[in-house]
Amino acid sequence: MKTLNYLIIIIISTILASCKDDPIKNETGDINFNILYNIDGENLLLDTIKYTNAAGNKYSVNHFEYYISGVTFIKNDESKHTSNEVCYINIKKSNTNVMNFTNIPIGEYKAVTFYIGLDSFTNKSNKLTNTIENVNMAWPDAMGGGYHFIKLEGYFLDKSGTKQDGYAMHLGTNSNLIKIEINHQFSISKNTLNKKLLLNINEWFKNPSNYDFDIDGNYSMGVEGAMSKLAKNGTDLFKIE
């Protein structure tokens, strides 16, 4: 009799537990990143040719979509917490520009690191959930498979300022994965922490080397030299505020 009762109670409690999210440990908190775009500090206005990069190309941003993954929070004591979420971000879809990370151990942190793109384990054809966005980011098998890490597109004027042309900066393949490391002191508590993640588009085109649409080309997909230049420039795109 008793055992039966116990059994029933155990069954009930499993059912109860499965109704709720995983029991949240007291010692964790949440962080929200709101991604905002600028050109050397000036708020980005889309679809207008009004920005100048380090090489002197006057250009616009009309399209920008990319992945952020492997987000890792590093504590002052060097212990790490890594999220396994893959975030698809599209500059023109505001809801994708908010990243929310939950269940981060409470404490003092000194840095955040993440990838622009997908690590080699994930960067395989059909590896991500088949959403419309992911399918549109596919990097064809005939070009090695996986996904575009970024698609940054717009228009630019040639140096004489008369002839307009398009540019399409596409980045993919494992060797061009961009690792971002941002040193920033913050503390995770039980209250949600809201942070701004500021992305300076002009950083794609400078540091360590200038990218010039006229010289390096207005199209990068499959052009290894152009892609690796962009990938190296990309490491200092972000700031946290």
Binding site: I8, C19, N130, T131, A138, M143
Partner: protein, 331 residues
């Protein structure tokens, strides 16, 4: 013993509280309709407000073929004929295939949103359907009662039924699909066309993204160099100068059947389309950046064999199962 019953009762209660309450409507007994989708397709967009039912689908199908919707003897099928993947040569209408994944409708995206939204437009703005005619039909009153449990039929009910028929029309049995599923091989020519399509050489995949063959965005591919009131496309909706000459990227599924081509039907054959991409692209300030990569301004420089390989590949999108599917034909 009593205690046991109590515990069992509690557990039943707990169990049922885990699920959401099903929409209880005693009078409405509909049969769920399952849409078959291969796993390599992206997740289909459904509308929880309009769950798929056999009754709703069949009603939408009947309406699609019924001139009662219009005031001039036409039905939707007059311009959207199954034989040609639901278009006709004369109308150059957009084909009806895999529209369930779309959120932008019509060449200039005049309607954005759900399938229900575009159907509201077709019934209300385009056909200006006389709802009283439908309400006066005994048969339709019964069918709408069965599918939606309504006694007074509205434009919304008609649009919802049509939306179900649209959502269910999924094409996934073309030769290309069978190739993706490993059920067949492509010929060497088709395979070479596939490689041209999905590499920088042909560079079709950035807009005609696989497997649906459209990213559902608006783009200017350079058909003209000047865009005025006749061909300004997306600009007609947004009035933003950077949208001049942009049109919805059309699906290429069943493209072999849906001549003539482009929003104005200017090309009669796929060979003409390929020749346009190969050598006819005109540059303007809103041309898509994908169209002007280095070298492309002088054309794709395809050999005649490469051109026919591309065409042969495009023909692998033809799905005869779809155009012969009795479930989609006139009831």
């Amino acid at each position: 013993m009593k205690k046991n019953i109590l515990i069992i009762l509690i557990s039943v209660f707990v169990l049922s509280s885990c699920k959401e309450d099903p929409p209880i409507d005693e009078k409405l007994t509909t049969t769920p309709y399952k849409i078959e989708i291969p796993e390599y397709f992206p997740k289909i967009i459904l509308n929880p407000q309009n769950p798929m039912t056999v009754e709703g689908f069949e009603l939408g199908r009947k309406l699609y073929y019924d001139p009662i919707l219009s005031n001039d003897g036409r039905s939707c099928a007059s311009c959207h004929d199954q034989k040609y993947s639901f278009t006709t040569y004369a109308s150059n209408a957009l084909v009806h295939v895999n529209l369930a994944w779309n959120t932008n409708f019509l060449w200039n995206g005049h309607v954005s949103g759900t399938m229900e939204d575009i159907m509201m437009f077709e019934v209300g703005d385009f056909f200006k359907t006389d709802i009283s005619k439908i309400n006066n039909s005994n048969e339709y009153r019964q069918l709408f009662k069965k599918a939606y449990n309504v006694s007074q039929i509205t434009q919304k009910d008609i649009a919802y039924a049509l939306a179900q028929f649209f959502r269910a029309r999924v094409s996934y049995n073309s030769k290309f699909d069978k190739f993706l599923r490993g059920e067949t091989d492509l010929t060497p020519s088709e395979l070479n066309g596939y490689i041209l399509f999905t590499t920088e050489k042909g560079d079709c995949f950035h807009c005609h993204t696989l497997p649906l063959t459209s990213d559902n965005q608006f783009r200017n591919i350079g058909l003209d160099s000047i865009y005025d009131s006749n061909n300004s496309g997306r600009y007609e909706v947004t009035h933003k100068s950077f949208d001049k000459g942009k049109f919805k990227v059309p699906t290429l599924r069943n493209i072999e059947l849906s001549a003539p081509y482009m929003h104005d039907g200017r090309f009669q054959t796929l060979a003409q389309v390929i020749e346009f991409y190969n050598s006819g692209v005109k540059v303007s300030s809103t041309i898509d950046p994908i169209m002007t990569k280095p070298g492309k301004e002088y054309g794709l420089k395809l050999t005649s064999k490469e051109k026919s390989d591309l065409i042969n590949f495009l023909k692998t999108f033809t799905d005869t199962t779809y155009i012969n599917n009795k479930a989609f034909s006139k009831p």
